[in-house]
């Protein structure tokens, strides 16, 4: 594919706008590390929610969804849609608590919740673990995906384009901190969505329209028995284990960037940067709607159109299926191609800038400041933060060269932290969880992941696989591995929790009074003289949020396929759920909120 001068003009103009916006905030960000990493805790819900979804929308996401749809149909998206269960949990049970905790990073939470040397060790370890390997793996897979897009679309190495794009992104991110990140994220998300919508319209036209796509899918259904248009997997045959694991285990057990159980990473960073707790909750709600309802349909349409245009894709390897997305760009008219290319750069930049800013916050706030230099000036810390952001960017760029594939990147992270989700959820609501619990969960999860990599055919794996097959599942390695990791990790951390002493009561009391979590805090609540209750509304709100997201998701899908009445019905039901959800959110304990 060749770009015309008009395409280049749009791409160049897009870069000027993004960098200009980023640089505008550099003076503001340099005032303190609270401004640099949390925008002075002044973000409104729409800005922080959009920033969350922009970060989660990466350049590899459209390709991954295209691959999923061509391989397994629309229902294959449950591989990631399952995370809406965890997302809704974060909205109702955790967003306001994060903001109330008032920490600077997810890792600093350890300092206000746990006590003693184990807590100190855990904070330092997690700062380095999340700040370097996890950030670099994420950086690496996102960069690798972007390189592949450039290679497929332009048939060049893409090295110069990537170097310029990365250099400019790191330049404004280093100077402007989170202010620059969230402000550019607004525009980047807009441009990224614009590109995917334009591509889907052109792709559908190329395929002969919605009617032609539906007819083609019906032919495929008759030939293969696979309903590619169905949103839910068909019943009456062996349930794929991966689907079962995704729906019942993954969302609460696996620490995945952007879908951490209870919120973490850049999601927690933005909740902490919210103007107040209500803005944190509303922002997280908006993120979940944009993430699950607004984003996916243009990609799904492009993927389905690609199946009509390139019928051989259905039997192609997964890599070729994913490459269908950039291949469709070739059908765009001159001038419009530039918009779609800019949208892919936007998706890439919005993720990269957040990763390096977040990694810098861990390394500065949870390693450099508590362990290396305690009492320096704000100016000094801002300078070190900027240097750390550059360091992480260089390490991440280096990592993208050694990472074998995009899939290898996220699989590595999901397996290494496959069983830690439950401890991250319960640490808010159960006083007995201690630093030892988290240490045990992290180490046992990592150890089991390494064991499974080293001995993929061990008797344990074979026995479980055979048992699951007998129980009626269509077994796959991924599902078996996750079940083993989660089961082993849960047994280990619960055992360690009961075998080790609880945290210092003074520390627990101070946490309980500050965060007011409710739940299982018996002895601490008695010490406090007042018990904070977890009422029924968050549970009701959780169910309503899920129902609402699902209705909107299905409604948009129906409208896209021109089933107007059904689409309007689903959207109407979603709107009623949204109204009831707003009532439930208002009934959460808002007393003493910052």
């Amino acid at each position: 594919m060749k770009l015309t001068p008009a395409d280049w003009i749009f791409i160049a103009w897009y870069f000027v706008l993004s960098i200009g916006i980023g640089l505008y905030y550099s003076k503001k960000a340099g005032k303190s590390i609270s401004e640099y990493f949390l925008s002075g805790r002044s973000l409104p819900w729409w800005l922080l929610g959009t920033s969350m979804v922009a970060t989660t929308f990466s350049s590899d996401t459209p390709l991954a969804v295209t691959g999923i749809v061509i391989k397994d149909g629309v229902s294959g998206n449950w591989f990631w849609w399952n995370f809406m269960l965890g997302g809704a949990l974060t909205i109702l049970f955790f967003a306001h608590l994060w903001r109330r905790a008032g920490v600077m990073t997810e890792v600093e939470f350890i300092d206000i919740r746990y006590s003693g040397k184990p807590a100190r060790f855990l904070r330092g370890f997690k700062a380095l673990y999340l700040g370097v390997p996890v950030s670099c793996i994420t950086f690496g897979w996102v960069t690798l995906a972007m390189v592949k897009i450039i290679q497929i679309a332009f048939r060049t190495s893409g090295l110069t384009a990537m170097t310029v794009c990365l250099g400019l992104t790191i330049f404004y991110t280093t100077l402007s901190g989170l202010w620059g990140v969230v402000a550019t994220d607004m525009l980047l998300f807009g441009v990224a969505m614009l590109g995917s919508i334009v591509l889907s319209v052109v792709s559908v036209e190329k395929a002969g329209g919605i009617g032609a796509i539906v007819a083609h899918m019906k032919t495929l259904l008759a030939q293969s028995g696979h309903d590619y248009l169905s949103v839910f997997p068909s019943l009456g045959q062996a349930i794929p284990l991966a689907f079962f694991v995704a729906l019942f285990v993954q969302w609460w057990a696996v620490y995945y960037p952007g879908a951490e159980p209870g919120g973490g990473g850049w999601i927690a960073q933005r909740m902490l940067a919210a103007r107040d707790s209500k803005h944190a909750v509303k922002g997280t709600l908006w993120f979940n709607i944009a993430h699950y309802v607004i984003r996916p349909w243009p990609w799904i349409l492009t993927a389905l159109a690609a199946m009509v245009v390139f019928p051989e894709l259905v039997t192609a390897p997964v890599g070729t299926m994913e490459a269908a997305y950039p291949r469709m760009i070739g059908f765009l008219p001159a001038g419009i191609t530039g918009i779609v290319i800019a949208s892919l750069f936007a998706a890439f930049m919005s993720t990269i800038e957040s990763i390096v800013n977040l990694a810098g916050s861990y390394l500065l706030n949870d390693f450099y400041r508590p362990f290396i230099r305690k009492d320096a000036s704000e100016k000094h810390y801002v300078l070190v933060s900027r240097l750390l952001v550059i360091l992480v960017a260089l390490l991440g760029a280096g990592f993208s060269y050694v990472l074998g594939s995009v899939r290898m990147g996220w699989q590595l992270i999901m397996e290494l932290s496959g069983g830690i989700g439950l401890v991250l959820l319960l640490r808010w609501y159960w006083w007995r969880v201690s630093a030892w619990s988290e240490i045990a969960a992290l180490s046992s999860s990592g150890a089991m992941a390494v064991y499974l990599q080293r001995f993929p055919d061990s008797p344990l794996v074979k026995a479980l696989a055979a048992w699951l097959e007998k129980a009626g599942f269509k077994v796959d390695t991924w599902g078996v591995d996750i079940i083993l990791i989660v089961a082993f990790t849960t047994v280990v951390w619960l055992t360690v929790t009961f075998l080790t002493a609880p945290d210092d009561k003074g520390k627990l009391l101070s946490f309980y009074q500050k965060v007011r979590p409710g739940g299982f805090w018996g002895p601490i609540a008695r010490l406090n003289g007042r018990r904070y209750k977890l009422n029924a509304y968050p549970f009701l709100g959780w169910a309503l949020a899920l129902f609402m997201i699902l209705c909107f998701l299905l409604g948009v899908g129906k409208l896209v396929f021109m089933n107007w009445a059904q689409g309007a019905g689903y959207i109407g039901a979603g709107a009623v759920a949204a109204f009831l959800l707003s009532k439930a959110i208002n009934k959460i304990d808002w007393e003493g909120q910052p």
Partner: protein, 55 residues
């Protein structure tokens, strides 16, 4: 304080204007044209909402 959000609003308007121009110059079919012009209108509107947003 309003200055805080102004660059974001300008960014949205800054994308909307070339979209209108590109829509006129390069769109080949009605569907392409409608998509690009609608997108430009949405960008204009979002820019306006950001500009008017409370601090």
């Amino acid at each position: 304080m309003k200055k805080d959000y102004l660059p974001m609003a300008l960014g949205f308007w800054g994308v909307a204007i070339p979209l209108i121009v590109f829509g006129f110059l390069f769109c080949r079919t009605t569907a392409e044209g409608v998509t690009v012009f609608l997108a430009a209108a949405v960008f204009m509107l979002v820019g306006y909402f950001i500009y008017r947003a409370k601090h």
